[in-house]
């Protein structure tokens, strides 16, 4: 990558830190541009989720910085980052189970004081099944549908960056493909997607950019296709 390239839309640069105790991340850099899908992959315990949480401000960095549109947001709380246009879908407990689908979406838009109906309509267009189930408690839905609610809730803030922590964990392969299709659709609307994935091969296939992390540091960084083609990556991380 050349130095002349413009500053990425969102970048966590040379991030070092952990949850108190020993550092988990070591000068790790993650970046994404508008409309792009960036995927973080790597073996278990590589610090994938930690890297994403660092970008979102859920742990304190000892070194490095996070910048959004060139603005340094390293010191901001996650809540403040939400207000800046970042949205985060946690891996678990990512919906309000006792509330209806529609209420989940309303809560996603809590910070907005304008009319949210158009955004809600967009979410329903993206995930038609949610429209049918909008008065049902979100906790009663299937795994894949719950993930759709989770993504929908995050989209309600009209974010410029959507961060997903293992969105396909625990869903069937068919549902996974369907979810990835939706994520591509979201990216096409100009939203940057930053995603941690356990299913590395499938995720890299849709990735504009892939980050392979090992022990909290960048090991390989390239386009998704290039990583898929790289024999080293294939051998070590994609099972041949």
């Amino acid at each position: 990558m050349s130095k002349i390239m413009a500053e990425p839309f969102l970048i966590g640069e040379a991030m070092t830190g952990g949850y108190g105790g020993a550092d988990i991340l070591h000068a790790c850099t993650i970046a994404v541009d508008p409309g792009q899908i960036a995927v973080i992959v790597g073996p278990n315990g590589a610090g994938k989720s930690t890297a994403m949480k660092a970008v979102f401000g859920m742990l304190t960095l000892r070194a490095g910085s996070v910048r959004l549109k060139g603005e340094d947001i390293t010191a901001l709380t996650p809540q403040a980052r939400v207000a800046k246009g970042m949205a985060f879908v946690p891996q678990t407990s990512n919906i309000f189970t006792s509330m209806t689908v529609e209420e989940n979406l309303e809560m996603g838009a809590f910070l907005r004081r304008d009319d949210i109906r158009a955004t809600m309509e967009q979410v329903y267009t993206l995930f038609p099944i949610l429209r049918d189930k909008r008065h049902q408690a979100a906790g009663e839905l299937s795994g894949g549908q719950r993930q759709q609610v989770a993504v929908g809730r995050a989209l309600m803030t009209q974010p410029s960056v959507l961060m997903l922590d293992e969105p396909t964990a625990g869903v069937s392969p068919i549902v996974m493909d369907e979810l990835f299709d939706r994520i591509i659709e979201v990216a096409r609307t100009g939203i940057s997607i930053l995603m941690v994935e356990q299913n590395a091969r499938q995720a890299l296939e849709i990735a504009d950019k892939g980050y392979v992390l090992v022990q909290g540091a960048n090991r390989f960084t390239d386009t998704g296709q290039a990583l898929l083609a790289d024999p080293d990556v294939r051998k070590s991380f994609l099972g041949g």
């Binding site: 207000a83 006792s98 509330m99 809560m107 809590f110 910070l111 803030t157």
Partner: protein, 336 residues
Amino acid sequence: MDILNALVAFLNFVFIPGVAYGAQLALGALGATLIYSILRFSNFAHGDTMAIGTVFVILLTWGMQGAGVSFGPLPTALLALPFGIALTAMLLLATDRVVYRYYRRVKAAPVILVMASLGVMFILNGVTRFIIGTSDISFTDGERFILTAGDFRTWSGLAEGLAIRTTQGVTLVVAIIAVAALFWFLQKTRTGKSMRAFSDNEDLALLSGINPDRVVAVTWIVAAALATTAGTLYGLDKGFSPFTYFQLLLPIFAAAIVGGLGSPIGAIAGGFVIAFSEVMVTYAWKKVVTYLVPEEMAPSGLLQLMSTDYKFAVSFVILIIVLLVMPTGLFKGKSI
């Protein structure tokens, strides 16, 4: 066999008192369950919050009576109630600021918050006694009965009388209004929904930009309204004494747990379950049964399952049974 008289006796001695008591417990349990589900601790000071809220209402009532204000046939206390709620809300917000907020900041274990609520319980209990003493106080005024036993007998020609006290009627009407308002608030308003979201999934609520301080403050205000209303209705119906209110803690928590701690509907259902069980187990059924069986079979004993002194045992036994059979309560409560 005299079904009509038996029915009237049942309504008069079991059903109407049960409904009134159930409504009072339900309001108390709603407050406790709300605090549990949003602030995530069992508030042992809830009984004493009801007491001090009622003290405010009593003082205001006395002031209004002194100034010649009256609510016609209804108790003056109803006019004082909104102001009593406001004072209680201010008190609870101050308590939160001085006591509980610190423990939320340091993310203390729920049991530490319960201990802190014990301290608040002591203080509120002391303040209540300090202000109003320990004697029983009756502060109801206006018309005593909606329907007197004598009028009912004349009207119906039955031997049994049916009396409905104003305080019983007022309890039911006010409780229905309060519950309807609460559910409307929780289900339809933005703030109410944000409280439910916070109770459901605190982390996600924070990610959605819900302001926790605001949720906490609104919760205390709603809890103050529920506690003061419950306390005032109970006091109008049965008289006020600080110690009784402290003891209400048990049936209130039993109601909340039986219904499913954290579930508002459960708190209401639990309140009525506990109230009716207490009334039915401690009622002497002799009168009702005498009407129902042939004369020669009339019972000689009181047919009272348990003496009224054991009413706590009733709430307790139901509590244990429900916990053993349905650990999350009648309506699935939340467990943290």
